[in-house]
């Protein structure tokens, strides 16, 4: 919203104050000023002048040769404006003056001397009007400085509308002026209004409210309007505040809206003389004054003209949003029905967003305007209209229908509450002064303030004592706060186990596994998945995504990581990525999302073969889990649950008999689409499940002081045999003297008879072992394995 300081100064005397500093304080105390625009800088020496004669330029079709009386002399001027005429009063920039930073001198134009320039409104910064020169409506002495006639200079600032969301009272200049008055410690002047009681004897306007969505509807009829153009200063202010000048009545309603924040509508009385406010039972189309046909739904409130002949209601405006083309003020309109109303804020907002039509009026209505403002706005409108067009006649008494009033609101504010909330001492006198200057009624009794909230703050903004704290502190100034720490008691902070294991996992995967951490989206990207031959699996959906590719939430993190592998193929020949993030594993019995924190890992290599990569990832997974839980996992072959998993090399990751994740290679069909030559492996760990598992304690074993015995045994695994069988058999020995075992060698001859060499380490804490003491255990192991088809190698 744009705010003219000239306009503000109609209501509060800011003479002698630094405006820039006041505007800065406005940002700190009220709402954010985004930009400050200065008008009139670089324009000086402009005077009121009159064109005495107009002659065609002999060589130019566009130019005219003028004689201009500038008060102290008559000068020759060459002018290109199409609207020049004899006797016209103009804003004249004589040689030696400046317009918008350009110095005006004596110029030769197409062979003729020009001693200055007649200016347009745009050149003077008064409006955007640039089709011709300013036709000055001024009867005073020629040579009068223009700044005495027009508001040449002004400071206009732009407010961030977002910061006004909860302040309906700031959507008008008068409300802004109230803030400046409070900040500057100056008096706010009342608004000059007509006395509507003078018309109480006239007939009323028939107003029928048929819907509770209309809170209040006030109306007045005025006739005999003869002026059609608004005065220069009004046009200037409207233009600088972002509104285009149209005609006097439209401009006046806009002026009122900007000044008081009260949207108004002027109907041509020929089309509307009695009003009904209602919703309709069936949708229909309606042409708004911008010429658009719009669909009106059953929940949209409409203003209707009641026809006197029959009892039908003809829609003439969308309540609080935009008027209809049919009842719009025309240039020949001489009688009007003036509407000043308030509507339900939620309904206004919903209707406006449904229509896709957000107007200056609807923006205000959705903020919850003060219904007490409607009548004052009419009185103000009339005052301004009468000043501009003294011939107007009021032809109805003020008519006012209302459905709704906000209850008067009184809050009690205790001094100790203020102290506690602010943490600083603020004088009683200051509290009183601030609240009073903002329009609050305050009665102090000892330590208690009884505060009457003014109607313009009571629509939703101020409801509780904490709201008053804001009023006091923002005007007091946050910069003036003496800040300090709390007196809170300290207590130990324990880190969440889930958090701890995330940190360990990240550090391990980055520093020891050399992987890159990435973040990917919570949903499947339909397009990307299709390119990799990955199905978008059925899952919970986003129902209103603006991107049609993003619809289904991911149930696994692997596919989103796979697309990263594909996109980074050019990055390196051998790399891996990981993410700790969320997946949605369907829904639980209550239909709520099963959101799981998941670690996803995916490796890519064109340098290593798949087997090497597979074991690299297996070792890292195992080390990672050891790092987090001091437990080594076992990997159990399992059936794939996703189409992209490899039918054979898919394994469950088991820790303490709990499945914590999956690990394996990619289905060849998908692998080929990512890269024809590269090997790809991946794993996915459920970090929530992992967090529930207890970590194994460190069990310290005194190191033996006696030398131990290492025995290497080689076994032939034969077809289908796996190492786990040997490991299980070793574990089953339950031999106290066996301190460790390891894989010493693997031999894979061409005949497929893989053999493994296991090194068994024996030690005793009591003595040096003799071979004979461990022989029974060895014999037992060999015998056991023999029975399951694993023979000791000859």
């Amino acid at each position: 919203m744009l705010v003219s300081m000239n306009w503000v100064r109609d209501f509060v005397n800011l003479d002698g104050l630094d405006l820039d500093d006041l505007i800065r304080r406005f940002t700190l105390s009220t709402a954010e000023v985004e930009d400050v625009i200065r008008y009139g800088e670089g324009t000086r020496g402009i005077v009121a002048a009159q064109i005495l004669s107009v002659q065609k330029h002999p060589e130019s079709r566009k130019l005219h040769l003028l004689k201009v009386d500038k008060g102290d002399a008559v000068v020759d001027v060459v002018c290109g404006a199409p609207n020049v005429r004899e006797g016209m009063r103009v804003a004249f920039a004589p040689a030696g003056s400046s317009v918008g930073g350009h110095d005006i001198g004596v110029a030769q134009l197409a062979g003729h001397k020009s001693n200055g320039m007649c200016c347009s409104e745009a050149e003077l910064g008064l409006s955007d009007e640039n089709d011709g020169i300013l036709d000055l409506d001024f009867d005073g002495a020629l040579g009068t400085p223009l700044e005495n006639i027009a508001e040449l200079s002004d400071t206009v600032f732009e407010l961030d509308n977002k910061s006004l969301t909860n302040r309906p009272d700031l959507w008008g200049i008068y409300g802004i002026a109230r803030e400046f008055a409070a900040l500057a410690g100056r008096e706010l002047q009342p608004i000059d209004r007509a006395n509507l009681a003078d018309y109480n004897d006239l007939p009323g306007v028939k107003i029928t409210l048929e819907s509770p969505l209309c809170q209040r509807y006030s109306a007045l009829k005025v006739e005999g309007i003869s002026v059609s153009q608004s005065p220069l200063n009004m046009r200037t202010r409207l233009s600088r505040c972002g509104m285009r000048g149209i005609n006097l009545l439209a401009d006046l309603t806009n002026y009122l809206m900007l000044e008081m924040g009260q949207p108004m509508h002027a109907f041509d009385q020929r089309r509307v003389s009695a009003v009904r406010v209602k919703t309709f039972d069936a949708p229909f189309t309606f042409q708004t004054l911008d010429g658009q046909e719009r669909n009106i739904y059953t929940d949209t409130l409409m203003i209707c003209a009641e026809t006197t002949s029959n009892d039908t209601a003809r829609p003439v405006a969308i309540a609080g949003i935009m008027g209809g083309l049919d009842s719009e003020i025309k240039d020949d309109t001489d009688s009007l029905l003036l509407e000043s109303a308030t509507f339900d804020p939620v309904s206004s907002r919903k209707s406006s967003s449904r229509l896709g039509l957000r107007t200056d009026a609807s923006a205000r209505y959705e903020k919850a305007l003060d219904p007490e403002m409607t009548v004052n706005a009419i009185a103000r409108f009339l005052k301004l209209l009468q000043a501009i067009d003294p011939g107007v006649r009021v032809s109805s008494r003020l008519s006012d229908a209302r459905n709704f009033a906000y209850p008067p609101l009184t809050l009690t504010l205790e001094k100790h509450f203020i102290n506690r909330y602010t943490g600083i001492p603020i004088d009683d006198s200051q509290i009183l002064k601030i609240l009073t200057s903002l329009g609050f009624g305050v009665i102090q009794s000892g330590e208690t303030f009884t505060v009457q909230v003014p109607s313009w703050r009571a629509t939703k903004d101020v409801t509780i004592p904490a709201d008053l704290i804001e009023e006091i502190t923002r005007v007091y100034g946050y910069d003036n706060f003496e800040i300090h720490s709390t007196r809170s008691v300290l207590y130990p902070v324990r880190e969440d186990i889930g958090k701890t294991q995330d940190t360990i996992a990240r550090d391990f995967l980055v520093a020891r596994a050399n992987l890159h951490e990435v973040h990917s989206y919570l949903w499947c990207d339909k397009e990307k998945f299709a390119a990799l031959g990955l199905d978008v699996e059925e899952n919970i959906r986003l129902i209103n995504s603006v991107n049609p590719n993003h619809e289904v939430l991911r149930g696994s993190m692997v596919p989103t990581l796979l697309s990263f592998l594909q996109e980074n193929r050019g990055y390196a020949g051998d790399f891996g990525v990981f993410e700790i993030g969320r997946v949605i594993a369907g829904t639980d019995e209550d239909g709520l999302c099963r959101e799981r924190k998941t670690l996803g890992i995916a490796l890519f290599s064109r340098d290593a073969d798949e087997e090497t990569l597979f074991f690299r990832l297996r070792d890292r997974l195992s080390d990672l889990l050891l790092e987090i839980k001091r437990l080594r996992p076992v990997f159990l072959k399992e059936e794939p649950t996703h189409a992209w998993q490899h039918p054979v090399n898919t394994f469950g990751v088991i820790l303490s008999n709990i499945r914590v994740g999956t690990f394996g290679t990619l289905h060849p069909a998908n692998a080929r689409k990512i890269d024809k030559k590269a090997a790809i492996v991946f794993a996915e760990i459920d970090m929530h499940t992992l967090a529930e598992l207890a970590a194994a304690p460190i069990k310290y074993r005194e190191p033996s002081k006696y030398p131990g015995i290492d025995v290497d045994l080689s076994f032939v695994l034969g077809s289908g045999g796996i190492f786990a069988q040997i490991a299980d058999a070793i574990a089953a020995l339950g031999c106290d003297l066996l301190s460790a075992y390891s894989l010493a060698d693997v031999f894979e001859p061409d005949d497929g008879k893989t053999s493994v060499t296991v090194r068994l380490s024996f030690a005793s804490n009591e003595k040096t072992l003799a071979r004979a003491e461990i022989q029974p255990a060895l014999d037992l192991l060999v015998g056991k394995l023999q029975t399951i088809g694993i023979a000791l190698k000859a």
Partner: protein, 341 residues
């Protein structure tokens, strides 16, 4: 006998000069000092001598023995030194400037910034709490004093899910659950991923990280809030930052503020990155609305508190000079692999 000893000494000196290798030297040592060596043999022959002669000759032999032993050791040491010298001279010269062969891993920039900010708060006694990304209307809006049809809901384009839940639009969605979990007094931060249903460009992402903090106790005041914000931000940016508060409207705080810090780029004079204002809008905050406390099971007559939000994604952009917000979720390793602890 004396002559025998002298001639043996001469014989040894000659042999020692010829022993050019460690093996020859060892052979020489064995020849003279071994159990059946020449000196032992000579000692044997003393048996035939009488008392005094025996004693005198024995002393002479012992002297020779010590002499031989010392000379052999010295010669061995010399040989060893020569050998080491040869090894050093012929050692391969390693080119330490060769590039590293292993690819080093990297952290996501958000992880780094988050970790850093978390550490600061943990040192100030805050607990770090995690919260889901999928939430319900109550926690995301109702419990934050944002009833249905409140315009504040329009400010946040919410992703709604087919089961009626939604993706959290702000970390504040965790406030209610955290208040209920811990009760007052409490000081907690809760970082998390948030979602807004909007089109993306260099400045807008539909998926981003925030971090929120709340502190609730008896007599927590606006003066405390400003103090904590200033202290925390000075730690984050590792300099004394100037802060200023402006009124800001958020339904879950009252009063609510927008907190600005003096522009890190120009120091407050005004530059393009602060739109010439000298200030950067950084951190919405405020005193927790009494209704929000109440819905969180905390008595607003007894307790007050403040809440603040920090855009972790925005912080990471500022910290590392990332210009396109989409880089964070791009998975592009050319961008992401640069971030190491």
């Amino acid at each position: 006998m004396e002559q025998k000893i002298t001639s043996l000494r001469e014989q040894f000196t000659l042999a020692l000069n010829n022993a050019a290798s460690a093996a020859a030297l060892e052979a020489l040592r064995v020849e003279y000092l071994g159990k059946k060596g020449l000196l032992a043999e000579l000692m044997q022959s003393l048996r035939t001598l009488s008392g005094d002669e025996k004693k005198q000759a024995g002393q002479l032999i012992n002297t020779l023995k010590n002499e031989v032993d010392g000379l052999v050791r010295a010669a061995a040491e010399t040989l060893q030194k020569e050998e080491q010298k040869r090894q050093i001279n012929s050692a391969k010269r390693y080119d330490v400037t060769l590039p590293e062969r292993t690819e080093h891993g990297s952290y996501h920039p958000i992880s780094l910034v988050q970790r850093e900010v978390e550490r600061i708060f943990v040192t100030m006694g805050f607990t770090v709490e995690e919260y889901p990304e999928v939430v319900d209307d109550y926690h995301c809006f109702e419990a934050l004093n944002i009833p249905k049809h409140h315009p504040a809901r329009d400010m946040q384009d919410t992703y709604y899910l087919s089961n009626g839940q939604l993706l959290k639009t702000h970390t504040s969605a965790a406030q209610n659950a955290i208040m209920r979990k811990y009760g007052a007094p409490l000081r907690v931060i809760f970082p998390g991923r948030c979602f807004r249903n909007e089109s993306t460009d260099a400045c807008h992402e539909n998926t981003f990280f925030q971090m929120e903090g709340i502190m609730i106790d008896r007599d927590i005041s606006i003066a405390n809030l400003i103090y904590f914000m200033k202290t925390m931000l000075s730690e984050v940016f590792q300099r004394d930052v100037k802060v200023r508060l402006r009124p800001g409207f958020f339904p879950f705080v009252e009063p609510g503020f927008e907190l600005d810090i003096s522009c890190l780029n120009c120091g407050g004079v005004g530059c393009p990155s602060c739109k010439n204002s000298g200030w950067l809008e950084l951190c919405p905050c405020g005193m927790i609305h009494p209704r929000v406390l109440e819905m969180g099971g905390i008595d607003p007559d007894e307790y007050t508190g403040f809440a603040f939000g920090l855009g972790l994604t925005r912080l990471a952009m500022m910290r590392y000079g990332v210009k396109d917000i989409r880089d964070f979720n791009s998975g592009n390793l050319k961008a992401l692999a640069q971030f190491t602890q």
